[in-house]
Subunit: 340 residues, 2 copies
DNA sequence: TTGTAAGCGTTATCAA
DNA sequence: TTGATAACGCTTACAA
């Protein structure tokens, strides 16, 4: 490995002169600089990140922590983050799993963006207490070193509920996310608020897991008790798709006997038949804003918590109960109606 | 920031003793060790990664380089890598974009897995020449510090072609990937080999880009010249789906007038209507094997190049030209046939 | 304009 | 079993 010491020797100058030349410090003559640069190039010099980080106490690398690497949401989100990071001279790395948490306290990265509900809040606060900078995308955390960039879950869930109600639904199943999920809790809270306001709307909560399997199980449960047109609000698209998949194997038609709406507007939701209604938001912008906020708090600039706005995307998965013939359900041949 | 020096002072021992205690070196008494450990904990000591990396000349971090963060292939691939990395005491970070290439030469990571055709081979060879360890997933590169874990593209493309031919197809469109793509070149080579062997099979190559848009454009082109049942082999699923999307807006029915097969068997391919036939392989295993190979070459163990085997997944997008009525196409009302 | 030297937080060699 | 001490490669006062 060739170091500035080697260059200094070859150029017949001191290591500090080399360092200055390499860093574009204008303390050195253009002549010596270009000589040093030439030698550095000739020797294939590459700076050592660890040494620089050790000395400067910053790595110019930001980390984002995800629950896992799959998930349809991440693509745009991450490229939004990367774009902002790069324009500010930072690199972005993506991490997942408990093992990699050490990157933050060990100062391998200058800050972290969290979208991983398995990353304990206590741990995050600990790190923030030690001075590390963090942006959270999946929880509320009040701390001078932590900033939040959260989805407007309340608006989204309210939009979804009102959309179903506008379409004449009086009976709405709500499939939630896993216990620990902040998004799920927030969305559910908004659901209740809307439902309680509408006296004649009945709502049934089913515990889900934000994964396809949760939607399938919810479908089973709904099929067992189905007796009249209803709507389902799955608190994310993944579950909505699992639910539609399962329903497709039954006699009930999505968009006819059962209306379904999701949340996140993932790409797959455009391909499901019928097209899934959902709540959309700019994932790219979310990522970009998160990165911006992180860079700001690292720079010591004051920041306020931010909110990502959402919109409703219509889909044929919601048509209203009026669409269905009164006799339609009962007309299902008995022997095939065994599912429900 | 609390360092081993601080601990040493508080414990009344030297820094080397602290270092030994912290690293589980059995040169120290259990008594002193536990005292030191207690003090370290009390002081919230966290080792400094940069310092350790600088001294030990290794970071115990491996990096994987992707073209972008989206793409349906990555989820399983990355979790396969992560699992292997973690069991060997390595952390995995995901990087994208030219800026982050520096991680390797600057020794931020101990090795790299490449799945990014925009990462120039010359650059990789350069790094390998300098002693860095690399595993490539998207090209052939002969170098003592580079190992390859490649898909069996030849087998996959051959399977796909034979599947179409078995179904009676004589006219096969092939939509390729972008210029630089190794996978595309390999698959195409196999396509030609099969097609040339079958005297009565005509094949037409259309340049694509491995993205949805490429499939859509290919569809346009096919629609313009369509006059008889044909098949399309899209060299990846993404394009196949774009193609099906476009075709869905025309009079031609996939699985009837036009059969389609893809490559990769991404999740979306299960949701397209009709279900897309494709070439499958274990993405998880691919990632796991790549990580294993990288860890081995870092450890100086000898490795051979590896190959990931593929299988054919049938789908209703391929039924054979015999399925279509001879008059069927012509019976399309003239005013609606304007597309082709 | 360039050089000297201290120090970032570790690890590891060698003495004690 | 422990302690001094010299690196690792770099940045940056301060001196020349």
């Amino acid at each position: 490995m060739v170091s500035i010491k080697d260059i200094a020797k070859k150029a017949g100058v001191s290591i500090s002169t080399v360092s200055y030349a390499l860093n574009g410090n204008n303390k050195v003559t253009d002549e010596t600089r270009s000589k040093i640069l030439a030698i550095a190039k000739e020797m294939n010099y590459v700076p050592n990140a660890a040494a620089r980080t050790l000395k400067k106490r910053e790595s110019r690398i930001l980390g984002v922590f995800l629950t896992d690497f799959s998930g349809d949401v991440y693509g745009d989100l991450l490229s939004g983050m990367k774009a902002v990071c790069n324009t500010h001279g930072y690199d972005l790395i993506v991490c997942s799993g408990k093992q990699s948490h050490r990157m933050l306290p060990e100062r391998m990265i200058d800050g972290a963006i969290i979208l991983d509900h398995t990353f304990a809040s206590e741990e995050l606060i600990q790190y923030a207490d030690w001075g590390h900078k963090i942006v959270v995308l999946d929880r509320e955390l009040k701390h001078p070193n932590i900033n939040q960039v959260l989805l407007d879950n309340k608006a989204g869930a309210t939009l979804a509920m009102e959309y179903l109600i506008e379409h004449g639904h009086k009976k709405i199943y709500v499939v939630t996310g896993p216990e620990g999920s902040f998004d799920s809790v927030q969305r559910l809270k908004a659901v209740r608020q809307v439902a309680e306001r509408e006296a004649d709307v009945e709502w049934i909560e089913i515990t889900g897991d934000f994964e396809k399997s949760g939607g399938e199980q919810a479908a089973e449960q709904i099929l067992e008790t189905y007796n009249e047109p209803a709507a389902v609000f799955c608190l994310n698209d993944e579950m909505a798709i699992g639910l539609c998949d399962r329903l497709a194997q039954s006699e009930l038609q999505v968009g006819q006997h059962i209306d379904v709406i999701g949340f996140d507007h993932i790409e797959l939701s455009n391909y499901v038949q019928p097209k899934l209604a959902s709540i959309d938001y700019s994932k790219r912008k979310w990522g970009a804003l998160a990165a911006e906020q992180l860079i700001k708090i690292i720079a010591g600039e004051p920041v306020d918590h931010e909110r990502i706005y959402v919109t409703l995307i219509e889909g044929e998965s919601v048509t209203g109960p009026n669409q269905v013939d009164a006799d339609d359900v009962k007309s299902v041949p008995q022997e095939r109606a065994v599912n429900y």
